[in-house]
Amino acid sequence: MSTLIFCQTARLKPYNSQNGSGLFCDRKTELGYEFWGRINQIARGLIPFLLSLLLLLVFLTSTGIPGFVKVAPSMTIISVYYWSISRPELLPLYSVFILGLIEDVLVGGPLGIQAIVLVLVAYTVSTQRHFFTFAPFGYIFSTFILVVTAGLGVNWLVNSLFAWELWDFMTLLVKAAMTMIFYPVVHWLLAKVDRTIVS
């Protein structure tokens, strides 16, 4: 029985692989489509991780704005939250874990704290994903307020335990507020990328 392999472009007709007589697309072209299709798939799959990394690096870059570093919004929490609702399969837990480790190293803090926070955020949100399906933005945003407060709270607690000193709680609140302020803009940006590139 001959195996029928369909070319990826809908306009091209089926190609019979047994006798090799292609109608509109030969074996070489078909392999080319397969190869580029796979590359395309991998590239699309990497976008959420690379975008999260880019957001992290942008907000880590030396700006010279006095005091900004301490209260800079946590871009990774925003990004992980968005992708865990939108496409958790494209930002799996191990990617989130690596992202957290990179952030820990670049910030210079104890290794593992942000990794724990991000993995917890990703796991909690993706397992409760059905609540967010067709939910209005207000609902997603109000849940984000809870998530970011809890996430930064865990970060503060583990850092305090690690250094055995209670860190400034006010800075934590300002950082949480900054993250919430930035959320709608970043959400809009990520949704745009999600619709135009990933989908």
């Binding site: 803090g109 290794l111 990794a115 724990i116």
Partner: protein, 291 residues
């Protein structure tokens, strides 16, 4: 071929499902393990830090360049407005500096004469490496910066880092082309110092804000301190050269002596790494032990 891939799938599929099932637990345990290992031995995770920082430092340097250019342009435009006032101020400063130059030359000559009379050998060799700060001070919990100079530029662990002629910190991790500097304001920073006027030794500890506290001082020694006293490195232990300014005493509250540096921590753009070698004192391996 099909059979081999079938065997491969038979082995990997249960492993994959097992990993997916316990992924959360595994990752939290790994992260917790890393935290504990680092707490016990900070050098154990150094390789991860060095690799990650080295990988991302070119990106951070590239991203810093337009920001720095924009900042410079803004400063240039702003300074045009106050050009005349600045020229007058600089003339005043020049007159003041010329007076001090005369004093310094006289003291230098006198110092050289006294050193030769005492037959003191000066075996200190000091080189400098200048670098750009590519990552501002860490976060609320950490006071460190990344600079774009590493092992390739002669930077080594433990070296002193200066900014605005004051001590900014010491090299904590060194990569091939980047390094992390632990600032003197970090809570884990401990620097042997002396109060220049009285010669009393102390230890400068960061307060994780913009200042440094002095510890190991007796109540009598604290009473002798005046506001504005200069605090400099003592050179004890050979970790840092002696005489680098840490800051000046801003206030004393009970047994707390608060010292502020003249470095603007929020605008730390460049840093100078001091390559300091003192053959009679600590070998390189000692810096590793100090971490």
């Amino acid at each position: 071929m099909r059979r081999r891939s079938g065997t491969f799938a038979r082995v990997t599929t249960p492993l994959k499902s097992w990993f997916q099932r316990f992924a959360l637990t595994l990752m939290i345990l790994t992260a917790g393990g890393l935290l504990i290992i680092e707490r016990i031995n900070p050098n154990a995770t150094q390789i991860i830090r060095v690799v990650v920082v080295d990988t991302f430092s070119p990106v951070l340097t590239a991203m810093t360049t337009p920001v720095a250019a924009g900042r410079e342009l803004y400063n240039n435009v702003r300074s045009y407005g106050s050009l005349r006032a600045e020229v007058l101020e600089l003339r005043d400063k020049l007159r003041f500096t010329e007076r001090w130059e005369q004093v310094a030359r006289r003291l230098e000559a006198e110092n050289r004469r006294l050193w030769s009379q005492l037959h003191v050998t000066q075996d200190l060799r000091t080189d400098f490496v200048s670098a750009r700060v590519i990552r501002d001070r860490g976060s609320s919990y950490v006071q460190s910066v990344l600079i774009n100079a590493g092992r390739a530029d002669g930077v080594r662990k433990g070296q002193a880092v200066l900014s605005s002629y004051s001590l900014a910190g010491r090299i904590l991790d060194v990569g091939q082309g980047s390094s992390r500097v632990l600032l003197v304001t970090d809570i884990n920073s401990r620097i042997p110092c002396i109060l220049e006027r009285t010669g009393v030794p102390a230890i400068a500890v960061g307060d994780n804000q913009n200042g440094v506290r002095l510890i190991r001082l007796t109540p009598d020694e604290i009473r002798d301190i005046s506001l504005g006293d200069r605090v400099v490195t003592s050179g004890a232990g050979g970790v840092f050269p002696a005489g680098f300014e840490i800051g000046i005493v801003q206030e004393t509250v009970g047994d707390q002596v608060i010292v502020v540096s003249n470095i603007n921590w929020d605008r730390l753009e460049f840093a100078t790494v001091v390559n300091y070698e003192h053959p009679d004192l600590l070998p390189d391996s000692a810096f590793e032990t100090l971490q």
